[in-house]
């Protein structure tokens, strides 16, 4: 567990978003409510509002992620912030020192917010501890640890289609071990009171600590998705297969790939989600990805509004109330 003490200010408002851990139900719901307010802006001809005018948002990406970076960039631009994109490849040498130096340099350019993606767990926490008090830090994915905005947009999507969290059955299918998304999702679902959370995965892709999570473990996909309202698929990363966690993609698809046929076991109006980018024919059949139960593109659409809400809230929390 990482130190998340500085994630909230004295009034309990979000001043950084580092992890879902430690957020209460009310705060998560208030983020979703605010995101709902921002949703309609995407439908206008002028898609920007002047909320963060004059603020500088820096995308600090130590790990490549075009999609996440793009949605954060677009969210910041829709709020009229100035956006700086920095892709910094981590060098194995002097990581700590160079990270801090990079940080101080950008901070000296009067940045107001860092959006951080890093291959190492805890990078965003570290940065949040180092920055000046007026700077907000958003974790856009750190190592295997957390990806809180993805989890929030997933919660937004689930609420949009299913309303009440307290009656839901949710299955998370795929590589749980390496997934920061899964970790954040499980925390969020559990905080929001989802009574039946299942993780469906081969034993080699389950974290050792899975027993401590508020989930049911299924190694059989058919059992795992039976009767569920929400099926969340995770991307199977090719590099994991090289590391001998799995034989190959085809084998995985045969056992754990969600097909139209297998999806019939879920509740009739179950929705299918995927954080993207998806591997068709590995974790998901094309017919499912493009089918009527898929809400994958809706997730992207909602993701923008959720990120706008998070950006606006973390900025709003660092000013004295007038």
């Amino acid at each position: 567990m990482m130190d998340t003490a500085n994630q909230l200010n004295a009034q309990g408002e979000l001043q950084h978003l580092l992890t879902i851990e430690g957020l209460n139900r009310q705060l998560i719901l208030s983020i979703l409510d605010r995101a709902e307010s921002f949703l309609s802006i995407s439908d206008r001809s002028v898609k920007t509002v002047p909320l963060l005018r004059g603020k500088t948002v820096v995308n600090l990406f130590f790990e490549n992620s075009t999609r996440t970076r793009t949605t954060f960039e677009l969210a910041a631009k829709r709020l009229s912030a100035d956006v700086l994109n920095l892709n910094i490849q981590t060098s194995a040498t002097a990581k700590g020192e160079s990270l801090l130096d990079t940080l101080k340099n950008i901070e000296a350019m009067s940045a107001d917010m860092f959006i951080v993606r890093h291959a190492q767990s805890g990078a965003a926490h570290f940065i949040a501890q180092q920055v000046a008090p007026h700077v907000a830090v958003i974790n856009a994915g750190d190592g295997w640890h957390a990806h809180p905005t993805q989890a929030l947009l997933d919660m937004f999507t689930i609420r949009y289609f299913k309303q009440d969290f307290t009656r839901l059955k949710v299955a998370i299918v795929g590589d749980i071990l390496h997934s920061r998304v899964a970790r954040s999702q499980i925390q969020a679902l559990s905080i929001l009171g989802v009574p039946d959370i299942r993780v469906v995965s081969p034993l080699t892709l389950l974290p050792q600590a899975v027993a401590t999570l508020p989930v049911k473990v299924c190694t059989n996909l058919l059992e795992g998705i039976e009767g569920v309202d929400v099926v969340i698929l995770l991307r199977l990363q090719k590099e994991r297969m090289q590391a001998a966690y799995l034989p190959n993609g085809a084998e995985f698809f045969h056992t754990y790939g969600v097909t139209e046929q297998k999806l019939k076991l879920a509740a009739p109006n179950a929705i299918v989600m995927h954080p993207g980018p998806m591997n068709r024919g590995v974790e998901i059949e094309s017919a499912v990805a493009d089918g009527p139960q898929s809400v994958i593109l809706k997730q992207v659409y909602f993701g923008l509004a959720v990120r706008m809400a998070v950006l606006a809230m973390t900025m709003a929390s660092r000013h004295p109330r007038g």
């Binding site: 605010r34 001809s45 909320l51 000013h319 007038g322």
Partner: protein, 183 residues
């Protein structure tokens, strides 16, 4: 301390008079047959706009009423933060070349109207904008004036007024307490 300043009957007769004044102004400006849209500013302005729409519709053609929520356009975001839940702005019809009657409940500093104008122009280019307000408080901080006013008032420094609604519409006078700032 809160007391009722204008009960629903008084508010209703103010609205009647405002509807008449709007018709007159439109005639003077030779706009009575042009495309006209009422746009209310959330939340109180929407209630007033609805009441005026009802009255005006009986004698003239109007486009569907619009709603603006100016919370994303406020100039006090850095001091006052973000409103917990912002009802979406909603302009059903295109506002290009439309004569907009911008409606608010209370005109005070003029900052809300400035923000509303900014937002309005993000939706399109209206042919004209006329400002209509139920209450005009003598406390302007910007060069903004309403063309149609229900009632003008001056308040003591510690007094605030608040519209309660939507049914019935009542104006309350709040004394002393530091209430939410109404721009």
């Amino acid at each position: 301390m809160t007391q009722i300043l204008l009960d629903h009957l008084s508010v209703s007769s103010l609205l009647d008079a405002m509807a008449q004044a709007i018709l007159q102004r439109l005639q003077v400006r030779q706009l009575a047959l042009s495309p006209i849209m009422l746009v209310g500013i959330q939340t109180g302005g929407v209630w007033i706009a609805e009441a005026l729409q009802q009255r005006l519709q009986q004698v003239m053609e109007l486009l569907p009423m619009g709603q603006l929520n100016i919370n994303f356009y406020r100039d006090d975001f850095s001091e006052n933060g973000l409103h917990p839940r912002v009802l979406p702005s909603n302009l059903v019809a295109d506002i290009d070349q439309v004569h907009v009657l911008l409606v608010d409940d209370v005109l005070m500093s003029g900052r809300t109207v400035r923000a509303a104008l900014n937002e309005l122009f993000d939706y399109g280019r209206p042919a004209s904008v006329m400002l209509v307000t139920l209450i005009d408080l003598d406390a302007r901080q910007l060069p903004i004036q309403a063309e149609v006013v229900g009632k003008s008032l001056s308040l003591l420094p510690k007094q605030r007024i608040k519209l309660r609604g939507p049914q019935p519409l009542v104006i309350e006078l709040v004394d002393q307490v530091e209430q939410v700032k109404k721009a």
